[in-house]
Assembly symmetry: C2
């Protein structure tokens, strides 16, 4: 019976041999010739005046390949490859080339171009005969994506770095431009090093957007020039805030890795932390019990009916927007609790004097704050409530993040607004960890169950979206709200799960052989991606027992 | 309104001021005098020929106190304490004393004494007037428990180490002797350093038992003298196995920290890994599809009807038992799948020739293997099925681990057997992380939902157990099965949750003021315990936003 098993394993192993690429390229052909990396392997950048961040990316690629030291996920961990490797041809170099007429702008500049105008496509060839490999692209950003693929082609065994699948030909481009991850740095704080480690992992999955939910009611860690008092009083501590230098560090680190940083300063709800510096702008601040007026403690929302508060907010957001080169800026807009204002004497007095409804005041507030951002060339991003629950006038350019339910995307599309998918029923990384409020011993997570990578992987970006509306879908992202997370569990709660949506939005619905993307095909590649992350110091979780990771197909339910 | 809030916070803060002790002592009185640690603070061991592991424990205590650097979990993190600390008396020393007539055996020796005969009680006094603190106990193990409490009395602020609650008088002893944690090192491997870090955290929570589920069907990492081929072929790799030296290292590290190591070699099920070295002993080995014959892949169970296999197993377990000084040895016994034997020609042939039923053969197997262990002075430990589902004759001394449901404990008690609670509905740390089998994209964890610390904390060890049966309850433990865990997420999945049952079984059902143990009282102490773990390099998760951790009572549901 044991012999019988080995037969099964070998067969399945051969079927799933598409290297360890994640996301899987749109078009991929590979052979079965062994090829090893020359000890003097070099990357030649065949571009006059190549930008520094491209040279850095090439140097990182060489470093990754030499230090990943990832053994093949098969029984014996690649020991059986030794004989074949010993006589394999050596790959001497990789040449990076831009297509004629392409400009050699920096990766950072390409990564923050207006969404839809970025060029991420690339063509990668790895010949089997020992002649140089090549990556060709229309932009340095495309070359970076190609380098990221190239890094994932290699295994290690016996001090050799090799592939068993040369020659390799890849033509690749993303299905959707927005492939993101959201991190909440307000409920609990994350150091710059935690964010950088996350950006490294995101870049390995070819993700393009870091949605930085920077501030919320619990703390305001973003130091904004001209408004430094908001963080100095509203952050957990001075060591738990992001200085201008920290922000520049994060933005430039992200940009060099092909990632656009979309900051969010959530308004007018989720702003209790502004009370510490500007109590005059916050209604129902710290009201206790909190539940009638807030989604979670502490309560507190901006007095958006007040012209003074509206102007303060517009100036605060404008000052923050200048710190970030991205074309996007998120003003939040989720979970505005109207009860908060019903009991706020100042808001009621203003509404009485102007004769406006609360909804009219909210619309004015949004128009003023968004208008200020648009003057700075920013495209506003909002959560779905601003479109689906409130009667707010927004620019047609506004991007809407769907979070409450995947079923709400269709309603946003019907309003002809652009969509980023981040529905809690598929993409919330925090779900399933139990109740975090203090006195509910039998309570569970509000968005149970845990969203497995498999569940996220089944997401259909075009469900209930017509062909005519399809262009409105920019992509999507997984999200980490941090009521129960901080640096202690950042890596395990995010990785490798967040790579699931990275492939959904890069690869699209079909594999290069025409078959539908599916969890069975994906699992062994995701194991590889996970083990590579671990080799790089990202504490991604084990998806299965190692026994299963080494034996594709043996640990399916049956 | 903000002023109103501060009033609330201060009031609640005062109510919950019982230091940051976890588990909370059975009897505790504290004052409100500030006291700081002298820079020359020493621990004097007032015991002739004090054992080395007690001196080591005292040295560790001083090191912990000086390096924990834990700030008070209040708004301002203890900055407001500065004035009071400045003029506080200094604590020069702590004296450790054994009660007259007590023997000065090592902590390690005391920790592995027969359960029920260990002495863990201690009395701790910290005067407020600058005279020395004292811990008195009947054993070095009791002194260790007292040192662990002493470590938790101190906060840091402005380079001062202090308490605001002197004088402190504690008289303490555990409600139950078995306070454990189970770790599965077969499905995924954990390095000795991971286990040691876990033992350190366990010791801080005064836990007494490390239940080491060492082997299973996926891998057999335990190198057993005389049977080294089982691990050399059945471990994931030689670097993923525990040598005799590793085992001694773990046992002695645990012992010095007051922890008894109960090893488990699960039999006769969960033994597919033995196939690699001894295929002749394993039925339905690696049968695929696995689900008709096994709880999870890979399939494989010992041929317990075979006298050869029974003798092999008895010798293997005996050789393993000699590696561990504990009085306990677990032979497992869970999830024996009878279908496996229905299709096993060798088993059927043996049963035909002997005329025995499968159940009779199982009973013989258990008697032989347990008999061999009992000859070595070991008390066998089994999972509940051996008592509740099989017609197996077991010694009255056998300890039974309840896992399938908390409701099954009563049935074990009715059989007059001793109980360790580890029910999946309260104590399984792996629940709620989604389906790990490969092709079930919408599947969830089999034991959903996630078991929160609050849920575990509500566990009643005596539910449905009569007063006459109460003596059968040895205690209980939380358990980590590692289908989806390895060193990447060990700390966050275990801590601080596993401390929940540590307090349930140390403190019992009532607090020292006579009130019932409850999650509201416990939360702020558990925050402190968690932050202290983080300071010590254990990546325990955040239970709530820091905002909540600093403001007891403000983040309850309402």
């Amino acid at each position: 019976m044991h012999t019988y098993l080995l037969g099964i394993v070998l067969t399945l192993s051969a079927l799933t041999a598409t290297n360890a690429l994640w996301p899987i390229p749109r078009s991929l052909e590979s052979g079965n010739t062994s090829l090893k990396l020359s000890s003097g392997f070099k990357i030649a950048i065949n571009i006059p005046r190549a930008p520094a961040d491209l040279s850095d990316a090439a140097a990182r690629t060489i470093n990754h390949i030499k230090t990943d030291n990832l053994e093949r996920l098969v029984v014996g961990r690649g020991a059986a490859d030794s004989a074949s490797i010993q006589h394999a041809k050596e790959l001497p170099s990789l040449t990076l080339t831009l297509t004629p007429g392409s400009s050699a702008r920096s990766i950072s500049d390409e990564a923050i171009k207006t969404i839809g105008t970025r060029s991420e496509e690339y063509v990668l060839h790895v010949p089997s005969d020992g002649s140089p490999a090549t990556i060709t692209a229309n932009s340095t950003l495309g070359l970076l994506r190609g380098l990221t693929t190239f890094e994932q082609l290699w295994y290690s065994s016996n001090n050799q770095i090799y592939t068993m699948e040369a020659p390799i030909s890849i033509t690749d481009a993303p299905a959707y431009p927005y492939r993101g991850l959201m991190l909440d740095t307000s409920r609990n704080f994350f150091a710059v090093s935690d964010i950088k480690r996350t950006l490294d992992a995101m870049s390995l999955a070819k993700m393009s957007q870091f949605h930085w939910h920077a501030t919320d009611s619990q703390s305001f860690p973003l130091v904004i020039p001209g408004f430094t008092e908001v963080a100095s009083k509203g952050a957990y501590s001075s060591s738990m805030s992001y200085s201008t230098k920290d922000i520049q560090d994060i933005v430039s680190y992200a940009g060099a890795r092909g990632i656009d940083v979309v900051v969010e300063i959530d308004t007018p709800g989720h702003t209790a932390a502004i009370t510490e510096s500007h109590p005059e702008h916050v209604a129902c601040s710290h009201v206790f019990p909190w539940s009638p007026v807030a989604g979670e403690p502490p309560a507190g929302q901006l007095r958006f009916a007040s012209p003074t508060t509206t102007n303060f907010t517009a100036e605060l957001l404008s000052a923050a927007a200048k710190l970030f080169p991205s074309k996007f800026f998120s003003t939040g807009g989720d979970e505005v609790n109207t009860n908060c204002y019903a009991g706020d004497a100042e808001t009621q007095s203003i509404l009485n004097s102007t004769g406006e409804t609360l909804e009219q005041a909210l619309s004015n507030f949004m128009q003023t704050t968004h208008g200020a951002l648009e003057k700075l060339g920013k495209t506003p991003v909002v959560w779905e409530e601003m479109v689906l629950e409130h009667n707010v006038t927004l620019s047609n350019e506004t991007v809407v993040m769907v979070w409450i339910s995947s079923e709400h995307a269709a309603a946003v599309a019907q309003k002809n607004l652009r969509i980023v998918h981040g529905p809690s029923d598929f993409f919330y990384l925090d779900c399933g960890a139990g109740e975090w409020l203090g006195d509910n011993p039998l309570g569970n997570s509000w968005c149970d169950p845990f969203k497995t990578w498999q569940k996220s992987y089944t997401f259909d970006p075009l469900a209930n979206i017509s062909q005519e509306q399809a262009h409105l879908v920019l992509g999507g992202q997984q999200l980490l709200w941090t009521e129960q997370s901080d640096p202690s569990n950042l890596d395990p709660i995010v990785w490798p799960r967040a790579a699931s949506s990275a492939e959904v939005f890069w690869t699209g619905s079909t594999l290069s052989d025409g078959s539908a993307r599916n969890v069975n095909e994906a699992l062994s590649r995701l194991h590889d991606f996970r083990f590579r992350l671990v080799q790089r110091g990202v504490r991604a979780i084990a998806l299965q027992p190692l026994w299963c990771a080494l034996r594709p197909g043996q640990c399916n339910g049956d």
